[in-house]
Subunit: 221 residues, 4 copies
Amino acid sequence: MSKPISAAPVLEAHKRERRKEARPGELLEAALDLFVEKGYAATRAEEVAVRAGVSKGTLFLYFPSKEELFKAVVRENLARTVSEGASELEVFDGPTGELLTHMMQQWWARYGATKASGISKLIISEASNFPELARFYQEEVVVPGTELVRRVLQRGIDRGEFRPVDLHHTVHVIMAPLIFLVMWKHSLAPCCGAAAAIDPETFIAQHADLMVRGLLKEPNA
Amino acid sequence: MSKPISAAPVLEAHKRERRKEARPGELLEAALDLFVEKGYAATRAEEVAVRAGVSKGTLFLYFPSKEELFKAVVRENLARTVSEGASELEVFDGPTGELLTHMMQQWWARYGATKASGISKLIISEASNFPELARFYQEEVVVPGTELVRRVLQRGIDRGEFRPVDLHHTVHVIMAPLIFLVMWKHSLAPCCGAAAAIDPETFIAQHADLMVRGLLKEPNA
Amino acid sequence: MSKPISAAPVLEAHKRERRKEARPGELLEAALDLFVEKGYAATRAEEVAVRAGVSKGTLFLYFPSKEELFKAVVRENLARTVSEGASELEVFDGPTGELLTHMMQQWWARYGATKASGISKLIISEASNFPELARFYQEEVVVPGTELVRRVLQRGIDRGEFRPVDLHHTVHVIMAPLIFLVMWKHSLAPCCGAAAAIDPETFIAQHADLMVRGLLKEPNA
Amino acid sequence: MSKPISAAPVLEAHKRERRKEARPGELLEAALDLFVEKGYAATRAEEVAVRAGVSKGTLFLYFPSKEELFKAVVRENLARTVSEGASELEVFDGPTGELLTHMMQQWWARYGATKASGISKLIISEASNFPELARFYQEEVVVPGTELVRRVLQRGIDRGEFRPVDLHHTVHVIMAPLIFLVMWKHSLAPCCGAAAAIDPETFIAQHADLMVRGLLKEPNA
DNA sequence: CATGAATGAGTGTTCATTCAT
DNA sequence: CATGAATGAACACTCATTCAT
């Protein structure tokens, strides 16, 4: 009952730190982790707060509702994605097949391999519950992404490297395995044994190789 | 079969001629629809019951819990998928490129285009919350499916039609756009405008064409 | 730890009684009690449920929200009030002073003295938080009530018993002490000592006497 | 008073020339407004602080809790009310009917019409949740107020102007419409259309006229 | 067997109150 | 003294599950 006269630093767990600037970011990161890991519904607001090192109340200090938090997570992580690869296209000077291969590898390295790729899985999983977000994703990510690939294909055709193809569907055929890879990584990959494991780099290399061979006018090499 | 001559209310009999043995099936169908459309968490047990035309209590008479209902939905629909295409491979006698193309088209017609494809979306969306199901799906669907494709590829290589390739990853590259198509159909497709719409048959045709061209030793014809 | 082999009737508290018909009424009554006693905000939904002998969930089975419960309580109890005194006016044949006195006494006996009068206090206390209800009360209770009194005054004037007066304000002057009585009963009365207590019947008698004397052309008797 | 010749930001000084001693008063005023307008529970502490132009923390620097703030608001405003009309009675020399009428008009002008009258509404609305305040109000306001009116009535009777009446209840009958007027002003008045509006001065004049006529021995004039 | 009224643990959200700065 | 970021107890409401009928 009597306090020990120990001089030990009793550093309290709850420091009530004050750092308004950092909080939203910390919360968004925690939320991204949990939403990706467990899905929107299975993630409790308090969990997010705790993982971010704050109390439940603090979460609602920065985001008016769980739904808004979710939307913020999506917007935050999509912003980075958009228009990163566009610059590659402009400066590249080699054969289009190499450009296409390079861009796919870059996409994986810069997005697919990162935690942020979880939001693609998230959007697709929760699309029906958040149609507004689905449309947002469609317009802000899918459309620009498709457009980018379309321009690469057009470049190949214009330069006489690629056969003329149904641009619209070919674009999706090129992107589909990339999206698949992200979905896989965030769903079945953690559950399936090492035997069935997919190595992303090899997978993309193989996909790129097949695509380019299929597109080239003269697949001689 | 013969009507009783009693004056008792006979109206009821007509309204519900539902055979009781069909109950579980009707519940599973209703559940599949709703789980696919809204996800596991966002689907309420009562909704399923109502759509199946029974009361809430009846649902729990056949399935001990919502979770078990979910698992049953998955197991039920997985059964249909497995081992349908195997027979095609045995009897087919033409070039492997045509076989591959044919099998992809059949897969879409018999599975992808049906409501049952929703369980692929379901599994992938809920994998982290139901790892047991994910593993089940992996073993019962993914592994046999990949095995099937692998054998087709092997056939092409053995017959000297296809180049020798990294079988493991090529198999996934071939399947990825199919899975993508299913996910797309059950997530973003309902939200995106007609302009960005994907026509499954064309998409698969284009995919198959590119794959086969990429695989063939002599892609002349 | 071991159960006694007593044969005593263990009648369980939670009988899970099934009586859908009665529930809304029971809940409304419990809610009326508590809202009147503690106000809208200070009354917890679960309290209402418990007092009605059901669980929290059951309350929301019958009323979609606490606010709707509140509105239902108001509507339920106001329905009785309206248009009860109208009939008196039609059949009465004596002097208008007596009619007025009689109606005031009846109003107290049939409404003021009952638990339902608490909703008048409720409305007035919560008017700013439920403007919709305030308007409802204004239109459904205040307006018809004033109209009734106005007709009584007009009768007195038409028959040459009362002086011609400012009808609009006189009506309110007549009703004000009645409303006051209800407010008093549900606010300060429970707190003030017996010395300051107001006897409703005497209060109304005195009020009626003064009013009638003030209205009569020839206050001789 | 003289500006420093420094180049330092001087803008701040102008914006907030608020003297610190005035804080509690400003908080009480803001609180009175909000409590009257929205009730105790529906008024958030931060709202009060914001309206008073200070931060949330400052409020709790001056008042240990929301409840104490509420009590302070009541006590503060009750002080003004008490013992204002007593002096009138002493010096007035005319007929008691005129005195009574005059006092009622004065009460409205000096209390009823002011924001302070809101506390009467407040007390009555929250009496059950703050019985201590109710008793306080009863003793400090109601009892002295009643006593004052009683003395006026007694004066009228003693001077042979008024009939002998039941003093206790008559006093309340006289005060009731005044209290009603205050309640009305702070509850239904803001919601009801102009048609049903009550003009306080006319209302009080009519009430006074009827009272005096009802009390006078010879209501001839 | 089937029903649907009833339950209560669980979750999102609010807000009075605290305290490091 | 003043601030406002942080807290956490409290409450409205949901929904899977139970069980008397």
